[in-house]
């Protein structure tokens, strides 16, 4: 049974009349890696700052293992933060930076030395203890910031977009390293990011936020494969939306008209009736590009193709103007597999790989959140 470590209930926060968090509830389990994902301005950073104690909520409460922390000062909370721009103390050596938290606890000198050495060894920086922060690279500074935060053995580690200042390759390395650290230390990680790829690859659970509200809470797989609404579907990964209409409803299935194709699909969780509009969601990798002579599928033509190494990504314009993204793996038997621009094709998908959402149309706001 998973135990709740940090419990946020009915949190609201306004800044100058603008609602940033709107009655948010969230339970964070002990030992998990949970990610707060959302576009800028969705309230994820505010939520983190409320947990750290740098801001106080207008309403609601924060409880850590049964203890009310809502109005506790940051220095008295058993959790630590890794800041976006590291916030290393520039006038102190790496050693003194990491030792700072332990000195505040008035630990004996020997213990401080030993624990700082351990923490630096953990992030492979034991040879840099005497350096000043500005003598280190971005990735090294990041590791010092992590060592400084975990040396106090917090119950919970808050990470505010800690990898956003690093280049792509270093970011990938640090992602793996953070996961390793989290496993080894057994500390609960609350990770804030706007990078959905990062969120999916690192987390045990993902919280998708928008306008200070939880849009979806689930495992990366749930969030990606079974998005709760159009916002999540658009924000997490690339998605094709095909408008459909319910033709008939059966026991475990429904027949849907999509671009004139009659497809029998699994019946969704929400209520459906005949004639109801639906959104059929398909990830680019669910799309099958067929020969124009094929009986199945919707006709269109290739307007763009991108060689991605392991996949061939293409953009197809259907005859009615709908844009479709397709991502296909290379076939071992056909190494020359490729498309010509303007080549006529037909588009279909593998049965059962679609995901259905009620037929609300996407608002402008949701479209712009995509960018």
């Amino acid at each position: 049974m998973k135990q709740t470590l940090l419990s946020l209930s009915n949190l609201s926060k306004q800044f100058g009349g603008k609602t940033v968090l709107d009655g948010l509830d969230l339970e964070i389990y002990d030992g998990e890696f949970i990610t707060l994902l959302g576009p800028s301005g969705c309230g994820k950073t505010t939520l983190l700052r409320l947990m750290a104690g740098f801001e106080h909520p207008d309403e609601g409460s924060i409880t850590l293992a049964g203890e009310d922390l809502t109005h506790t000062a940051p220095e008295n909370r058993p959790l630590n933060t890794v800041f976006q721009h590291y916030a290393l103390f520039p006038h102190m050596s790496v050693f003194d930076n990491v030792a700072y938290g332990l000195k505040m606890e008035k630990r004996p000198k020997d213990e401080i030395r030993q624990r700082v050495d351990e923490a630096l060894a953990m992030v492979q920086l034991q040879d840099f203890a005497r350096r000043k922060p500005h003598q280190l690279s971005g990735g090294q500074q990041q590791r010092v910031a992590i060592a400084r935060a975990v040396v106090k053995r917090p119950r919970l580690l808050l990470l505010d977009e800690p990898l956003s200042a690093l280049d792509y390759k270093l970011r990938r390395t640090m992602q793996v390293e953070l996961k390793r650290l989290q496993r080894e230390l057994g500390i609960t990680f609350v990770f804030v990011t706007h990078d959905q790829e990062e969120a999916l690859s690192m987390s045990d659970r993902v919280v998708v936020l928008k306008d200070g509200l939880v849009q979806q809470l689930g495992t990366p797989r749930e969030v990606y494969e079974r998005p709760a609404n159009l916002f999540t579907a658009r924000f997490v990964g690339e998605t094709n939306f095909f408008p459909g209409t319910v033709e008939s409803v059966h026991d475990g299935s429904i027949t849907v008209d999509v671009f004139g194709l009659k497809r029998t699909l699994r019946r969704p969780d929400f209520a459906v009736r005949e004639g109801q509009p639906l959104n059929v969601l398909l990830r680019p990798e669910d799309i099958r590009v067929l020969d124009p002579a094929d009986e199945q599928g919707v006709a269109g033509k290739i307007v763009e193709r991108n060689y991605k190494g392991s996949t061939l990504d293409s953009v197809i314009h259907l005859d009615d103007g709908t844009e479709v993204l397709a991502s296909e793996f290379f076939d071992e038997d056909d190494p020359a597999f490729d498309y010509r621009l303007g080549e006529p094709v037909k588009v279909s998908w593998v049965d059962g790989w679609e995901w259905l959402l009620p037929g609300e149309t996407a608002t402008e706001e949701e479209l712009s959140a995509d960018a």
Partner: protein, 256 residues
Amino acid sequence: MTRWLPRTYLTLIYILLYVPIVVLVVFSFNESRTGYAWGGLSLRWYEALFNNRAMVNAMWNSLWLALSAATVSTVIGALTALALHRYQFRGKKLLNGMLFVVMMSPEIVLAISLLALFLLVGLQLGYVSLLLAHVTFCLPFVVITVMARLSGFDESLPEAARDLGASDFTMTRTVLIPVIMPALLAGWLLGFTLSLDDVVVSTFVSGPSYEILPLRIYSMVRVGLKPEVNALGTLLLVFSLVMLMLSQWILIRSKR
């Protein structure tokens, strides 16, 4: 033509700037009594200077005044800068603007108004009135120096310190002050120099009980230029150079 013109121009400017200083230094070692003729190398004017009790006394008074005025204005100025940087409050813009008014207003205006104020409250003119006056005109310079440093200050540093268990006070002591230390030192030195060579305001607010160096020199020069003044000027020059090098050294060290 295009090559030598800028060089000559630059050389002339530097000659204009430095020749008087060089003359002052050279003539401070002049044996001759007149200021125009060279009479051989001598330290007699330095000797005369140190035997002039009134002069030595004025020098100590000036140093003590500059030291205390710079220290008091650095403490008040740093706190003011922190308040202006950290908090949003009514009248903040006004307070900020008023600092510039003090800095920009003619010294004579400040001098007269301070004198009027001291007479009004019945403060006896002397060390205390000088100190208050000097702190007043040093303050805006300190505030502006410290504010400039704070504007580039990473706001997450205090938060990081709090997050690691430091109280607000401990954070200020262990993170905030060390980080803004170069600005505090620069502000202090600025205040020290301003106080040391102020004539206008000091003329109005000093009393017979506390004579300071610039006023002493001024009164000496009025009855005729004595070579002692050259010796004094040379000593002050060496002193300022040492202070300047010290401040540069501290700045470079703090950046490392």
